[in-house]
Amino acid sequence: MKTKLLSLIIVGVVALIFPLLVPSDYYRHLVIIALMWVVIGSAWNLLAGYTGQVSFGHAMFFGVGAYTAGIFATKLQVSAWWGMLLGGPVAALFALFVGWVCFRLRGPYFALATLAGGEIIRLVATNWESLTEGMVGILLIQSFRSKLPYYYIALGLAALCIIVIHTVMRSKWGYYFVSIREDQDAAESLGISTALYKNISLLISAFFTGTAGAFYMNYMAFIDPHVVFSLHYISIMAILVGIVGGVATHMGPAVGAFIMVGVQETFRSAIFGLAPKWVSQGHALVFGLIVIFVILFMANGVVGDWAKIKRHVFRMKA
């Protein structure tokens, strides 16, 4: 317990002073993106890891949040930062509708429904040009030239997300979510309204994912449907972050976010320019290999199987 608290304090302090230690905008950018993925991964983990409702369509909520911020800024001429506050609630409202449709299905059928939902809304966003500008996308002017404000906003958001989910999981709701994951029929017979609590889980998850999307709008200052509603850059990435870090662990998605963003960037930059250019096309292949490796050798992810990893590494040394 004491070492846990100590490591938490160390991580917190390092996170707070990181941008002061590292002046490079490039590395600051990477960490900002990783922090955004901490939020999305943790949100996905609440729904899929703890509640057992695996979503293949979290890009829906990410995109709705991003477009909420973007549309507020361009159509209503209010700051996109107001949009950031609204991105979460609008995504949560949207999640109510998604839950109403998709929670009629269970297990893999629910997953497929969210997959379809993500694609549907991407097509809607592409074609509803009067609202979304379609493929032209939405362009804003960034509020800050320095990375620092974005860094601290992303850090605050990630911390808030982890704390909220941690608190929820240590309450009655947490027990109910896990019960639903383990057996819906048993949960229902024990007095748990599975319909209600699955929707609560989805709502919280969508809220944070949407807020992350609105943050992305503010930070990157450009979105189009193929980016923010992307199946493989958002929905699948959310799953990878969760699986690699550790499904149904508190810190798993946070660890997974940094690993996956690191891997993605290493390959996107063709191993920092050292490898031939075609390597940069290979990150999807490497993602696939990582998933296979994780499923075969550490099904509970880096955090969930940490003891196992330590044991093996230790044995190698001895």
């Binding site: 240590r170 309450s171 009655k172 027990y175 109910y176 896990v178 019960s179 383990e182 057996d183 029929d185 048993a186 949960a187 229902e188 017979s189 024990l190 007095g191 748990i192 309204s193 599975t194």
Partner: protein
């Protein structure tokens, strides 16, 4: 007024009448046995009572009020707990967490729920296993866990679905003791059971069905000597 009353209950799956015109009343404080050969509709009746299956015709009354069509979790809140024949432990949760989760049915804070869970686990003689994951329990433990979980929702009526199946003779005696203890704590029990030793020793009254229809009702002795029951079983 009976605690639970089934009125001309009918449940059809397509053309198959799984339960056909079954009527009985369970009085407060008794152990009411429901028997019948395999596939005679016992578990289906349970599933109709707590609305896992919608009822085709007839009615189910709990404390004089119809509970037909109420959501399963609402029925649990009204005071009907149940166990499953094919046990459904929340496998990756600990034994304590399994029971705590169901105790939230009546309380709101973790502290209260855990206190209630400890009390129930003690009652069911499972306190020694509380930190183990539910999936690591042997079958007898899982059956006890099913009962503990149902008890944690503080039911007035407990539906026990073959809680003695798959137990060895000494475990059987423990199961019988536990069921009596539950009744003595003021909970009415409706029990489905195949093992005659269990059902004949503990039931106050027995209702026998075959092919979804009532064939006999009475004290264990009357039912055991009933021609139709003997025919159904032999």
């Amino acid at each position: 007024m009976a605690l639970l009353e089934l009125k001309k209950l009918v449940k059809a799956f397509g053309g198959l009448l799984a339960v056909n015109d079954v009527t009985f009343q369970v009085e407060k404080g008794e152990i009411f046995g429901l028997i019948g050969p395999n596939g005679s509709g016992k578990t289906t009746i349970f599933n109709c009572i707590n609305n896992f299956y919608p009822i085709t015709a007839g009615d189910v009354l709990f404390k004089g009020q119809s509970i037909k069509g109420l959501k399963t979790h609402k029925i649990c809140h009204l005071g009907i707990g149940r166990t499953f024949q094919v046990v459904k432990p929340l496998a990756r949760m600990t034994v304590l967490d399994n029971v705590t989760a169901s105790a939230f049915c009546r309380v709101n804070t973790i502290k209260e729920a855990e206190e209630e869970a400890h009390r129930v686990l003690g009652f069911c003689n499972l306190l020694g296993e509380k930190t183990k994951p539910a999936k690591s329990l042997p079958i007898a433990g899982r059956k006890r866990l099913e009962i503990a979980r149902a008890l944690a929702t503080k039911p007035e009526l407990l539906l026990l679905d073959e809680t003695a199946a798959g137990l060895n003779p000494s475990e059987l005696d423990e199961a019988i003791d536990l069921i009596r203890k539950i009744r003595d704590s003021g909970i009415t029990i409706l029990i489905v059971e195949h093992i005659m030793k269990v059902i004949m020793t503990i039931s106050d009254r027995i209702h026998a069905i075959n092919f979804g229809q009532t064939i006999a009702q009475g004290t264990p002795k009357e039912v055991a000597n009933n021609r139709a029951v003997i025919e159904a079983y032999l």
